[in-house]
Amino acid sequence: MQAQEKPVQHLIEIRDIGKDYQVGANTVSAIRHMHFHVDDGEFISIMGQSGSGKSTLLAVLGGLNHPSRGQVLVDSLDVYGLSSEQRADFRSEYIGIIFQSFQLIPYLTALENIKLPMAITGISAKEQDGLARSVLEKVGLGAKAPRLPDQLSGGEQERVAIARAIVNRPPILLADEPTGSLDSETAEGVMGLLRRLNQEGLTIIMVTHNPDACRHADRTILVRDGLCLAQ
Protein backbone atom coordinates (compact mmCIF):
# COMPACT_ATOMS: atom_id res chain seq x y z
CA MET A 1 0.00 0.00 0.00
CA GLN A 2 1.41 3.34 -1.01
CA ALA A 3 1.69 5.95 1.76
CA GLN A 4 -0.43 9.04 1.04
CA GLU A 5 1.60 12.25 0.98
CA LYS A 6 0.49 14.64 3.76
CA PRO A 7 -0.09 18.21 2.52
CA VAL A 8 2.48 20.69 3.89
CA GLN A 9 0.88 22.93 6.51
CA HIS A 10 2.11 26.51 6.64
CA LEU A 11 1.70 28.79 9.64
CA ILE A 12 0.29 31.57 7.47
CA GLU A 13 -1.30 31.23 4.04
CA ILE A 14 -2.20 34.24 1.98
CA ARG A 15 -4.56 33.03 -0.71
CA ASP A 16 -5.25 35.34 -3.64
CA ILE A 17 -6.02 38.37 -1.54
CA GLY A 18 -6.91 41.80 -2.83
CA LYS A 19 -7.90 45.01 -1.10
CA ASP A 20 -9.80 47.82 -2.79
CA TYR A 21 -10.72 51.22 -1.44
CA GLN A 22 -13.46 53.45 -2.72
CA VAL A 23 -12.14 56.96 -3.28
CA GLY A 24 -15.07 59.03 -4.48
CA ALA A 25 -16.34 57.40 -7.63
CA ASN A 26 -13.05 55.54 -8.19
CA THR A 27 -11.90 52.20 -6.86
CA VAL A 28 -8.25 52.12 -5.83
CA SER A 29 -6.55 48.76 -5.30
CA ALA A 30 -4.06 48.85 -2.43
CA ILE A 31 -3.46 45.14 -2.95
CA ARG A 32 -4.23 43.82 -6.44
CA HIS A 33 -3.23 40.23 -5.98
CA MET A 34 -1.00 38.50 -3.48
CA HIS A 35 -0.50 34.84 -2.78
CA PHE A 36 2.23 33.45 -0.56
CA HIS A 37 2.83 31.53 2.64
CA VAL A 38 4.96 31.88 5.75
CA ASP A 39 6.26 28.91 7.71
CA ASP A 40 6.62 28.62 11.43
CA GLY A 41 9.83 30.26 12.67
CA GLU A 42 10.51 32.21 9.48
CA PHE A 43 11.72 35.82 9.43
CA ILE A 44 10.13 37.45 6.40
CA SER A 45 10.66 40.98 5.24
CA ILE A 46 8.17 42.64 2.93
CA MET A 47 9.90 45.39 1.05
CA GLY A 48 8.47 48.02 -1.18
CA GLN A 49 8.20 51.72 -1.87
CA SER A 50 5.80 53.95 -0.04
CA GLY A 51 2.26 53.28 -1.33
CA SER A 52 3.14 49.84 -2.62
CA GLY A 53 0.54 48.20 -0.36
CA LYS A 54 2.95 46.70 2.17
CA SER A 55 1.36 48.30 5.26
CA THR A 56 -2.11 47.31 4.04
CA LEU A 57 -0.81 43.78 3.65
CA LEU A 58 0.48 43.81 7.22
CA ALA A 59 -2.93 45.04 8.51
CA VAL A 60 -4.67 42.28 6.53
CA LEU A 61 -2.24 39.72 7.98
CA GLY A 62 -2.91 41.01 11.49
CA GLY A 63 -6.67 40.58 11.21
CA LEU A 64 -7.12 44.34 11.27
CA ASN A 65 -8.27 45.05 7.74
CA HIS A 66 -10.78 42.87 5.94
CA PRO A 67 -9.53 42.01 2.43
CA SER A 68 -11.90 42.61 -0.50
CA ARG A 69 -11.21 39.13 -1.76
CA GLY A 70 -9.14 36.06 -0.93
CA GLN A 71 -8.40 34.29 2.32
CA VAL A 72 -5.90 34.60 5.15
CA LEU A 73 -5.30 31.35 7.01
CA VAL A 74 -3.31 31.34 10.23
CA ASP A 75 -2.71 27.94 11.77
CA SER A 76 -5.45 26.70 9.38
CA LEU A 77 -7.85 29.28 10.86
CA ASP A 78 -9.71 31.44 8.32
CA VAL A 79 -9.09 34.80 10.02
CA TYR A 80 -11.79 36.69 8.13
CA GLY A 81 -14.30 33.92 8.62
CA LEU A 82 -14.30 34.92 12.29
CA SER A 83 -16.58 37.52 13.83
CA SER A 84 -15.11 40.89 14.81
CA GLU A 85 -14.88 39.88 18.49
CA GLN A 86 -13.38 36.48 17.63
CA ARG A 87 -10.79 38.31 15.51
CA ALA A 88 -9.96 40.45 18.58
CA ASP A 89 -9.33 37.24 20.53
CA PHE A 90 -7.27 35.92 17.61
CA ARG A 91 -5.10 39.03 17.68
CA SER A 92 -4.64 38.71 21.43
CA GLU A 93 -3.59 35.08 21.13
CA TYR A 94 -1.66 34.89 17.84
CA ILE A 95 -0.35 38.30 16.91
CA GLY A 96 2.09 40.78 18.35
CA ILE A 97 2.25 44.08 16.48
CA ILE A 98 5.01 46.67 16.44
CA PHE A 99 3.57 49.85 14.98
CA GLN A 100 5.35 52.46 12.99
CA SER A 101 6.33 55.30 15.42
CA PHE A 102 6.04 52.91 18.42
CA GLN A 103 2.51 53.94 19.43
CA LEU A 104 2.95 53.61 23.15
CA ILE A 105 0.17 54.83 25.44
CA PRO A 106 1.57 58.15 26.66
CA TYR A 107 0.08 58.08 30.16
CA LEU A 108 1.34 54.60 31.01
CA THR A 109 4.90 53.87 32.13
CA ALA A 110 7.17 51.57 30.10
CA LEU A 111 6.27 48.67 32.41
CA GLU A 112 2.53 49.45 32.22
CA ASN A 113 2.68 49.69 28.42
CA ILE A 114 4.18 46.23 28.36
CA LYS A 115 1.49 44.91 30.69
CA LEU A 116 -1.27 46.35 28.49
CA PRO A 117 -1.92 43.21 26.36
CA MET A 118 -2.17 41.17 29.57
CA ALA A 119 -4.96 43.39 30.97
CA ILE A 120 -7.53 41.24 29.18
CA THR A 121 -5.98 37.84 29.74
CA GLY A 122 -6.85 37.12 33.37
CA ILE A 123 -3.19 36.69 34.33
CA SER A 124 -2.67 37.64 37.97
CA ALA A 125 -1.08 41.00 38.81
CA LYS A 126 1.99 39.31 40.29
CA GLU A 127 2.51 37.12 37.24
CA GLN A 128 1.94 40.10 34.93
CA ASP A 129 4.60 42.04 36.79
CA GLY A 130 7.09 39.17 36.58
CA LEU A 131 6.46 38.61 32.87
CA ALA A 132 6.63 42.31 32.00
CA ARG A 133 9.86 42.81 33.93
CA SER A 134 11.52 39.77 32.37
CA VAL A 135 10.58 40.98 28.86
CA LEU A 136 11.82 44.46 29.73
CA GLU A 137 15.13 42.93 30.82
CA LYS A 138 15.23 40.97 27.59
CA VAL A 139 15.02 44.15 25.51
CA GLY A 140 17.67 45.73 27.75
CA LEU A 141 15.49 48.30 29.52
CA GLY A 142 15.19 46.82 33.01
CA ALA A 143 16.11 50.13 34.65
CA LYS A 144 13.60 52.18 32.64
CA ALA A 145 10.45 50.44 33.92
CA PRO A 146 8.91 53.48 35.68
CA ARG A 147 9.59 55.94 32.85
CA LEU A 148 6.83 57.42 30.74
CA PRO A 149 7.25 57.12 26.93
CA ASP A 150 8.22 60.78 26.55
CA GLN A 151 11.09 60.18 28.99
CA LEU A 152 12.58 57.51 26.68
CA SER A 153 14.68 57.86 23.53
CA GLY A 154 13.37 56.65 20.14
CA GLY A 155 15.36 53.42 20.35
CA GLU A 156 14.13 52.77 23.89
CA GLN A 157 10.52 53.40 22.86
CA GLU A 158 10.98 50.95 20.00
CA ARG A 159 12.26 48.33 22.45
CA VAL A 160 9.29 48.92 24.76
CA ALA A 161 7.01 48.49 21.71
CA ILE A 162 8.77 45.17 20.92
CA ALA A 163 8.46 44.06 24.54
CA ARG A 164 4.71 44.89 24.48
CA ALA A 165 4.30 42.91 21.26
CA ILE A 166 5.96 39.76 22.60
CA VAL A 167 4.85 39.75 26.26
CA ASN A 168 1.82 37.52 25.57
CA ARG A 169 4.17 35.10 23.74
CA PRO A 170 2.32 35.22 20.42
CA PRO A 171 3.62 32.89 17.70
CA ILE A 172 3.65 35.71 15.11
CA LEU A 173 5.24 39.14 15.33
CA LEU A 174 4.24 41.79 12.76
CA ALA A 175 6.56 44.78 12.55
CA ASP A 176 5.71 47.89 10.55
CA GLU A 177 8.89 49.79 9.66
CA PRO A 178 10.52 49.01 13.03
CA THR A 179 13.64 50.98 12.18
CA GLY A 180 11.93 53.72 10.20
CA SER A 181 12.48 56.49 12.73
CA LEU A 182 15.77 55.32 14.23
CA ASP A 183 19.38 56.22 13.49
CA SER A 184 21.43 53.46 11.87
CA GLU A 185 23.23 52.36 15.05
CA THR A 186 20.00 52.08 17.06
CA ALA A 187 18.29 50.45 14.07
CA GLU A 188 21.02 47.84 13.96
CA GLY A 189 20.49 47.08 17.65
CA VAL A 190 16.73 46.70 17.16
CA MET A 191 17.25 44.41 14.17
CA GLY A 192 19.66 42.30 16.23
CA LEU A 193 16.97 42.00 18.91
CA LEU A 194 14.38 40.88 16.33
CA ARG A 195 16.84 38.36 14.95
CA ARG A 196 17.39 36.94 18.45
CA LEU A 197 13.64 36.66 19.04
CA ASN A 198 13.33 34.85 15.70
CA GLN A 199 16.07 32.45 16.71
CA GLU A 200 14.05 31.70 19.85
CA GLY A 201 11.24 30.51 17.56
CA LEU A 202 9.15 33.61 16.90
CA THR A 203 7.81 33.99 13.35
CA ILE A 204 8.43 37.55 12.23
CA ILE A 205 6.95 39.43 9.30
CA MET A 206 8.51 42.82 8.90
CA VAL A 207 7.46 45.57 6.53
CA THR A 208 10.25 47.91 5.50
CA HIS A 209 11.49 50.08 2.69
CA ASN A 210 15.06 49.78 3.97
CA PRO A 211 17.19 47.18 2.10
CA ASP A 212 19.64 47.09 5.05
CA ALA A 213 16.90 45.80 7.37
CA CYS A 214 16.13 43.02 4.90
CA ARG A 215 19.58 41.53 5.46
CA HIS A 216 18.40 40.08 8.75
CA ALA A 217 15.40 38.28 7.20
CA ASP A 218 15.34 34.71 5.89
CA ARG A 219 13.27 35.74 2.91
CA THR A 220 12.20 39.03 1.35
CA ILE A 221 8.98 39.57 -0.56
CA LEU A 222 9.11 42.52 -2.91
CA VAL A 223 5.85 44.34 -3.46
CA ARG A 224 4.99 47.05 -5.95
CA ASP A 225 1.62 48.48 -6.94
CA GLY A 226 -0.20 45.88 -4.86
CA LEU A 227 1.53 42.91 -6.43
CA CYS A 228 4.20 40.51 -5.18
CA LEU A 229 7.10 40.88 -7.61
CA ALA A 230 9.58 38.40 -6.21
CA GLN A 231 10.22 36.16 -3.18
Partner: protein, 385 residues
Protein backbone atom coordinates in the same frame (compact mmCIF):
# COMPACT_ATOMS: atom_id res chain seq x y z
CA UNK B 1 -2.77 45.48 35.03
CA UNK B 2 -6.55 45.51 34.86
CA UNK B 3 -8.85 47.62 32.72
CA UNK B 4 -9.55 49.96 35.63
CA UNK B 5 -5.82 50.80 35.80
CA UNK B 6 -6.08 52.16 32.26
CA UNK B 7 -9.17 54.22 33.19
CA UNK B 8 -7.53 55.52 36.33
CA UNK B 9 -4.25 56.39 34.56
CA UNK B 10 -6.14 58.19 31.81
CA UNK B 11 -8.13 60.24 34.33
CA UNK B 12 -4.89 61.13 36.08
CA UNK B 13 -3.32 62.27 32.83
CA UNK B 14 -6.30 64.36 31.65
CA UNK B 15 -6.70 66.30 34.89
CA UNK B 16 -7.98 69.45 33.19
CA UNK B 17 -10.71 67.65 31.29
CA UNK B 18 -11.65 65.58 34.33
CA UNK B 19 -11.98 68.72 36.46
CA UNK B 20 -14.20 70.21 33.75
CA UNK B 21 -16.38 67.08 33.67
CA UNK B 22 -16.62 66.88 37.44
CA UNK B 23 -17.49 70.60 37.62
CA UNK B 24 -20.36 70.07 35.20
CA UNK B 25 -21.81 67.37 37.43
CA UNK B 26 -21.04 69.27 40.65
CA UNK B 27 -22.97 72.24 39.27
CA UNK B 28 -26.00 70.11 38.44
CA UNK B 29 -26.05 68.07 41.64
CA UNK B 30 -25.26 71.06 43.88
CA UNK B 31 -28.16 73.01 42.34
CA UNK B 32 -30.57 70.15 42.97
CA UNK B 33 -29.32 69.60 46.50
CA UNK B 34 -29.42 73.32 47.33
CA UNK B 35 -32.94 73.81 45.99
CA UNK B 36 -34.33 70.68 47.57
CA UNK B 37 -32.57 71.36 50.85
CA UNK B 38 -34.05 74.87 50.96
CA UNK B 39 -37.50 73.50 50.11
CA UNK B 40 -37.13 70.89 52.84
CA UNK B 41 -36.07 73.56 55.32
CA UNK B 42 -39.00 75.78 54.28
CA UNK B 43 -41.47 72.92 54.73
CA UNK B 44 -39.95 72.04 58.05
CA UNK B 45 -40.03 75.66 59.14
CA UNK B 46 -43.71 76.09 58.28
CA UNK B 47 -44.62 72.83 59.93
CA UNK B 48 -42.80 73.81 63.08
CA UNK B 49 -44.58 77.12 63.06
CA UNK B 50 -47.88 75.31 62.63
CA UNK B 51 -47.12 73.01 65.51
CA UNK B 52 -46.31 76.04 67.60
CA UNK B 53 -49.41 77.81 66.26
CA UNK B 54 -51.55 75.59 68.44
CA UNK B 55 -54.87 73.90 67.88
CA UNK B 56 -55.54 72.71 64.37
CA UNK B 57 -58.67 70.62 65.01
CA UNK B 58 -61.88 72.00 66.50
CA UNK B 59 -64.71 69.82 67.77
CA UNK B 60 -68.05 71.53 68.31
CA UNK B 61 -71.56 70.11 68.84
CA UNK B 62 -73.45 69.40 65.61
CA UNK B 63 -76.22 71.90 65.00
CA UNK B 64 -79.09 71.96 62.56
CA UNK B 65 -79.02 75.76 62.73
CA UNK B 66 -77.32 77.76 60.00
CA UNK B 67 -74.76 80.32 61.04
CA UNK B 68 -76.35 83.70 61.73
CA UNK B 69 -73.22 85.79 61.65
CA UNK B 70 -71.25 87.61 58.97
CA UNK B 71 -68.34 89.99 59.22
CA UNK B 72 -68.46 90.04 63.00
CA UNK B 73 -72.19 90.89 63.09
CA UNK B 74 -74.30 88.18 64.73
CA UNK B 75 -78.06 88.10 64.21
CA UNK B 76 -79.75 86.35 67.10
CA UNK B 77 -78.13 84.35 69.87
CA UNK B 78 -76.13 81.22 69.62
CA UNK B 79 -77.49 78.37 71.60
CA UNK B 80 -74.54 76.66 73.26
CA UNK B 81 -76.83 74.52 75.37
CA UNK B 82 -77.77 72.23 72.52
CA UNK B 83 -76.16 68.77 72.48
CA UNK B 84 -73.02 69.75 74.38
CA UNK B 85 -70.42 67.09 75.20
CA UNK B 86 -70.00 65.31 78.49
CA UNK B 87 -66.63 65.91 80.11
CA UNK B 88 -66.24 62.19 80.90
CA UNK B 89 -66.58 61.30 77.20
CA UNK B 90 -63.55 63.35 76.20
CA UNK B 91 -61.15 60.54 77.04
CA UNK B 92 -62.44 58.94 73.81
CA UNK B 93 -60.30 61.46 71.89
CA UNK B 94 -57.18 59.83 73.31
CA UNK B 95 -58.38 56.42 72.15
CA UNK B 96 -58.27 57.02 68.39
CA UNK B 97 -55.88 55.03 66.20
CA UNK B 98 -53.49 57.93 65.52
CA UNK B 99 -53.46 59.07 69.15
CA UNK B 100 -49.67 59.42 69.12
CA UNK B 101 -50.12 62.39 66.77
CA UNK B 102 -52.29 64.19 69.29
CA UNK B 103 -50.85 66.99 71.35
CA UNK B 104 -52.93 69.12 73.65
CA UNK B 105 -56.67 68.55 74.06
CA UNK B 106 -58.22 71.78 75.33
CA UNK B 107 -61.89 71.57 76.37
CA UNK B 108 -63.92 74.76 76.84
CA UNK B 109 -67.21 75.59 78.40
CA UNK B 110 -69.09 78.64 77.14
CA UNK B 111 -72.07 80.51 78.40
CA UNK B 112 -73.50 83.94 78.96
CA UNK B 113 -73.27 85.52 82.39
CA UNK B 114 -74.66 88.70 83.90
CA UNK B 115 -71.81 90.99 84.95
CA UNK B 116 -72.59 94.43 86.30
CA UNK B 117 -75.93 94.29 84.57
CA UNK B 118 -74.47 93.34 81.18
CA UNK B 119 -74.48 90.07 79.25
CA UNK B 120 -70.91 88.81 78.85
CA UNK B 121 -69.63 85.64 77.24
CA UNK B 122 -67.89 83.56 79.88
CA UNK B 123 -65.40 80.88 78.86
CA UNK B 124 -63.95 78.24 81.09
CA UNK B 125 -60.58 76.79 80.10
CA UNK B 126 -57.85 74.66 81.59
CA UNK B 127 -55.18 77.39 81.75
CA UNK B 128 -52.36 74.87 82.06
CA UNK B 129 -53.33 73.50 78.63
CA UNK B 130 -54.71 76.65 77.06
CA UNK B 131 -51.90 79.13 77.61
CA UNK B 132 -49.17 77.06 75.86
CA UNK B 133 -51.58 76.66 72.91
CA UNK B 134 -52.44 80.34 72.60
CA UNK B 135 -48.97 81.66 72.02
CA UNK B 136 -50.45 84.89 70.66
CA UNK B 137 -52.16 85.70 73.94
CA UNK B 138 -50.31 88.43 75.77
CA UNK B 139 -51.44 88.85 79.32
CA UNK B 140 -51.16 92.15 81.10
CA UNK B 141 -50.72 90.82 84.62
CA UNK B 142 -50.13 87.39 86.15
CA UNK B 143 -51.24 84.17 84.61
CA UNK B 144 -54.13 82.65 86.56
CA UNK B 145 -52.93 80.19 89.18
CA UNK B 146 -56.01 79.51 91.29
CA UNK B 147 -59.53 78.48 90.35
CA UNK B 148 -60.80 81.91 91.41
CA UNK B 149 -58.54 83.81 88.98
CA UNK B 150 -59.84 85.44 85.81
CA UNK B 151 -58.43 86.79 82.55
CA UNK B 152 -60.54 89.52 80.98
CA UNK B 153 -60.46 90.35 77.27
CA UNK B 154 -59.33 93.88 76.39
CA UNK B 155 -62.73 95.01 75.09
CA UNK B 156 -64.62 93.43 77.98
CA UNK B 157 -62.25 95.07 80.47
CA UNK B 158 -62.83 98.45 78.85
CA UNK B 159 -66.58 98.01 78.77
CA UNK B 160 -66.82 96.76 82.35
CA UNK B 161 -64.07 99.10 83.65
CA UNK B 162 -62.13 96.20 85.05
CA UNK B 163 -58.44 96.24 85.94
CA UNK B 164 -55.94 93.77 87.34
CA UNK B 165 -56.63 93.09 90.99
CA UNK B 166 -60.37 93.87 90.77
CA UNK B 167 -62.78 91.36 92.19
CA UNK B 168 -65.82 90.21 90.33
CA UNK B 169 -68.80 88.34 91.73
CA UNK B 170 -70.02 85.67 89.36
CA UNK B 171 -72.87 83.43 90.43
CA UNK B 172 -72.14 81.92 93.79
CA UNK B 173 -68.39 82.83 93.74
CA UNK B 174 -66.20 85.90 93.76
CA UNK B 175 -63.29 85.94 91.29
CA UNK B 176 -60.16 88.09 91.06
CA UNK B 177 -58.93 89.61 87.78
CA UNK B 178 -55.26 88.61 87.57
CA UNK B 179 -54.62 89.63 83.97
CA UNK B 180 -56.08 91.64 81.09
CA UNK B 181 -55.73 89.94 77.73
CA UNK B 182 -54.27 92.33 75.19
CA UNK B 183 -56.10 92.84 71.90
CA UNK B 184 -56.01 89.66 69.79
CA UNK B 185 -58.50 90.70 67.14
CA UNK B 186 -60.45 87.55 67.98
CA UNK B 187 -63.52 86.65 70.00
CA UNK B 188 -61.46 86.52 73.21
CA UNK B 189 -61.36 90.33 73.29
CA UNK B 190 -64.93 90.48 74.50
CA UNK B 191 -64.79 87.52 76.87
CA UNK B 192 -64.12 86.75 80.46
CA UNK B 193 -62.00 83.65 80.78
CA UNK B 194 -61.84 81.60 83.93
CA UNK B 195 -60.94 78.19 85.26
CA UNK B 196 -62.79 75.39 83.47
CA UNK B 197 -64.48 73.82 86.50
CA UNK B 198 -65.17 77.15 88.21
CA UNK B 199 -66.92 78.46 85.08
CA UNK B 200 -68.87 75.19 84.77
CA UNK B 201 -70.10 75.85 88.32
CA UNK B 202 -70.97 79.51 87.55
CA UNK B 203 -72.88 78.54 84.39
CA UNK B 204 -74.53 75.55 86.03
CA UNK B 205 -72.93 73.23 83.47
CA UNK B 206 -71.12 70.78 85.67
CA UNK B 207 -69.50 68.01 83.60
CA UNK B 208 -70.43 69.75 80.34
CA UNK B 209 -68.06 70.75 77.54
CA UNK B 210 -69.09 73.25 74.86
CA UNK B 211 -66.21 72.74 72.42
CA UNK B 212 -62.80 71.15 72.26
CA UNK B 213 -59.71 72.45 70.55
CA UNK B 214 -57.17 69.79 69.69
CA UNK B 215 -53.53 70.29 68.72
CA UNK B 216 -52.23 67.58 66.43
CA UNK B 217 -48.58 67.38 65.47
CA UNK B 218 -49.16 67.69 61.80
CA UNK B 219 -45.70 67.05 60.34
CA UNK B 220 -46.27 63.97 58.21
CA UNK B 221 -49.44 63.19 60.16
CA UNK B 222 -52.64 62.51 58.24
CA UNK B 223 -54.70 65.41 59.59
CA UNK B 224 -57.82 64.47 57.61
CA UNK B 225 -57.51 60.94 58.94
CA UNK B 226 -57.35 62.28 62.51
CA UNK B 227 -60.47 64.35 61.90
CA UNK B 228 -62.32 61.29 60.62
CA UNK B 229 -61.21 59.15 63.55
CA UNK B 230 -62.40 61.75 66.10
CA UNK B 231 -65.67 62.24 64.19
CA UNK B 232 -66.28 58.49 64.37
CA UNK B 233 -65.87 58.56 68.14
CA UNK B 234 -68.21 61.53 68.48
CA UNK B 235 -71.14 61.15 66.06
CA UNK B 236 -72.85 64.23 67.48
CA UNK B 237 -69.79 66.41 66.95
CA UNK B 238 -68.72 68.51 64.03
CA UNK B 239 -64.96 68.06 63.72
CA UNK B 240 -63.06 70.48 61.50
CA UNK B 241 -59.39 70.80 60.61
CA UNK B 242 -58.05 74.32 60.47
CA UNK B 243 -56.13 73.74 57.27
CA UNK B 244 -57.02 76.67 55.09
CA UNK B 245 -54.27 78.93 56.35
CA UNK B 246 -51.82 76.11 56.11
CA UNK B 247 -52.91 75.10 52.66
CA UNK B 248 -52.12 78.50 51.16
CA UNK B 249 -48.61 78.40 52.56
CA UNK B 250 -48.10 74.78 51.61
CA UNK B 251 -49.27 75.57 48.08
CA UNK B 252 -46.57 78.26 47.86
CA UNK B 253 -44.01 75.70 48.97
CA UNK B 254 -45.33 73.20 46.44
CA UNK B 255 -45.00 75.86 43.74
CA UNK B 256 -41.44 76.55 44.84
CA UNK B 257 -40.79 72.81 44.84
CA UNK B 258 -42.08 72.50 41.27
CA UNK B 259 -39.96 75.48 40.28
CA UNK B 260 -36.96 73.88 42.01
CA UNK B 261 -37.48 70.62 40.15
CA UNK B 262 -37.75 72.55 36.89
CA UNK B 263 -34.54 74.49 37.48
CA UNK B 264 -32.78 71.36 38.72
CA UNK B 265 -33.92 69.43 35.65
CA UNK B 266 -32.62 72.17 33.37
CA UNK B 267 -29.27 72.35 35.15
CA UNK B 268 -29.00 68.56 35.05
CA UNK B 269 -29.75 68.59 31.33
CA UNK B 270 -27.05 71.20 30.72
CA UNK B 271 -24.63 69.27 32.96
CA UNK B 272 -25.32 66.06 31.05
CA UNK B 273 -24.84 67.83 27.75
CA UNK B 274 -21.51 69.11 29.02
CA UNK B 275 -20.46 65.59 30.03
CA UNK B 276 -21.66 64.23 26.68
CA UNK B 277 -19.77 66.81 24.62
CA UNK B 278 -16.60 66.46 26.69
CA UNK B 279 -16.75 62.65 26.62
CA UNK B 280 -17.42 62.72 22.89
CA UNK B 281 -14.39 64.98 22.39
CA UNK B 282 -12.28 62.75 24.64
CA UNK B 283 -13.27 59.64 22.68
CA UNK B 284 -12.50 61.36 19.37
CA UNK B 285 -9.13 62.42 20.76
CA UNK B 286 -8.47 58.84 21.80
CA UNK B 287 -9.11 57.28 18.39
CA UNK B 288 -5.43 56.40 18.09
CA UNK B 289 -5.38 54.87 21.54
CA UNK B 290 -8.54 52.88 20.89
CA UNK B 291 -6.94 51.66 17.65
CA UNK B 292 -3.96 50.37 19.64
CA UNK B 293 -6.23 48.68 22.19
CA UNK B 294 -8.21 46.97 19.44
CA UNK B 295 -5.06 45.98 17.53
CA UNK B 296 -3.55 44.24 20.54
CA UNK B 297 -6.71 42.21 21.07
CA UNK B 298 -9.10 44.29 23.18
CA UNK B 299 -12.74 43.47 22.48
CA UNK B 300 -15.37 46.16 22.01
CA UNK B 301 -16.61 45.42 25.50
CA UNK B 302 -13.14 46.07 26.93
CA UNK B 303 -12.97 49.50 25.29
CA UNK B 304 -16.49 50.31 26.52
CA UNK B 305 -15.53 49.20 30.02
CA UNK B 306 -12.54 51.55 30.05
CA UNK B 307 -14.63 54.55 28.97
CA UNK B 308 -17.61 53.74 31.22
CA UNK B 309 -15.37 53.11 34.23
CA UNK B 310 -14.02 56.61 33.75
CA UNK B 311 -17.60 57.88 33.60
CA UNK B 312 -18.43 56.09 36.87
CA UNK B 313 -15.44 57.63 38.65
CA UNK B 314 -16.26 61.09 37.30
CA UNK B 315 -19.93 60.61 38.24
CA UNK B 316 -19.07 59.46 41.76
CA UNK B 317 -16.69 62.33 42.45
CA UNK B 318 -19.12 64.84 40.87
CA UNK B 319 -22.05 63.48 42.87
CA UNK B 320 -20.18 63.44 46.16
CA UNK B 321 -18.73 66.93 45.75
CA UNK B 322 -22.04 68.23 44.38
CA UNK B 323 -23.90 66.92 47.42
CA UNK B 324 -21.35 68.45 49.78
CA UNK B 325 -21.37 71.78 47.91
CA UNK B 326 -25.18 71.82 47.72
CA UNK B 327 -25.53 71.33 51.46
CA UNK B 328 -22.88 73.93 52.16
CA UNK B 329 -24.61 76.48 49.90
CA UNK B 330 -28.04 75.69 51.38
CA UNK B 331 -26.64 76.02 54.89
CA UNK B 332 -24.98 79.36 54.14
CA UNK B 333 -27.84 81.02 52.22
CA UNK B 334 -30.72 79.67 54.31
CA UNK B 335 -30.66 82.51 56.87
CA UNK B 336 -31.10 84.93 53.94
CA UNK B 337 -33.88 82.93 52.26
CA UNK B 338 -35.82 82.08 55.43
CA UNK B 339 -35.13 84.63 58.18
CA UNK B 340 -34.98 82.72 61.43
CA UNK B 341 -35.16 79.41 59.56
CA UNK B 342 -32.93 76.50 60.40
CA UNK B 343 -31.02 74.23 58.02
CA UNK B 344 -32.90 70.94 57.66
CA UNK B 345 -29.64 69.00 58.08
CA UNK B 346 -27.64 66.68 55.85
CA UNK B 347 -29.93 64.00 54.46
CA UNK B 348 -27.62 61.01 53.93
CA UNK B 349 -30.09 58.81 52.00
CA UNK B 350 -30.62 61.76 49.68
CA UNK B 351 -26.82 62.01 49.41
CA UNK B 352 -26.75 58.40 48.23
CA UNK B 353 -29.42 59.21 45.68
CA UNK B 354 -27.50 62.29 44.51
CA UNK B 355 -24.36 60.22 43.96
CA UNK B 356 -26.38 57.56 42.14
CA UNK B 357 -28.04 60.23 40.00
CA UNK B 358 -24.66 61.73 39.15
CA UNK B 359 -23.20 58.32 38.21
CA UNK B 360 -26.28 57.51 36.12
CA UNK B 361 -26.08 60.83 34.30
CA UNK B 362 -22.38 60.45 33.67
CA UNK B 363 -22.92 56.90 32.39
CA UNK B 364 -25.86 57.92 30.25
CA UNK B 365 -23.94 60.82 28.71
CA UNK B 366 -20.93 58.55 28.08
CA UNK B 367 -22.86 55.63 26.66
CA UNK B 368 -22.99 56.92 23.10
CA UNK B 369 -19.33 58.08 23.04
CA UNK B 370 -18.31 54.71 24.52
CA UNK B 371 -20.33 52.79 21.94
CA UNK B 372 -18.93 54.96 19.19
CA UNK B 373 -15.36 54.47 20.43
CA UNK B 374 -15.68 50.73 20.88
CA UNK B 375 -17.29 50.30 17.47
CA UNK B 376 -14.37 51.93 15.71
CA UNK B 377 -13.06 49.60 13.04
CA UNK B 378 -9.46 48.84 14.08
CA UNK B 379 -8.27 49.58 10.54
CA UNK B 380 -10.11 52.94 10.60
CA UNK B 381 -8.69 53.74 14.03
CA UNK B 382 -5.21 52.72 12.92
CA UNK B 383 -5.28 55.13 9.99
CA UNK B 384 -4.79 57.78 12.66
CA UNK B 385 -1.50 56.09 13.61
Amino acid sequence: MKLYHISYSNLKRRKGKVIFLVLGLVLGIATIVTLLSITESMTRDIEERLDRFGANIVMVPKSENLALSYGGITVGGVNYAVQEFKEQDLKGIREIENRENLGAVAPKVLGAAQVMGRQVLLMGVDFAVELPLKTWWHLGGAAPAASGDLVVGAEAAAALHLAVGDTLPLGPRTFTVTAILQHTGGAEDGMIIGDFHAVQEVLGKKGVVSLVEIAAFCRDCPISELVLQIAEKFPNAKVTALRQAVMAKMQSIELFKTFSYGVAGLVIFIGSLLVFVTMMGAVNERTREIGIFRAIGFRRGHVMQIILLEAIVVGFVGGFLGFAAGNLIAWSILPVVIPGGTFAGVNLPFGGLAVLLSISLSLLASLYPARKGSSLDPSEALRAL
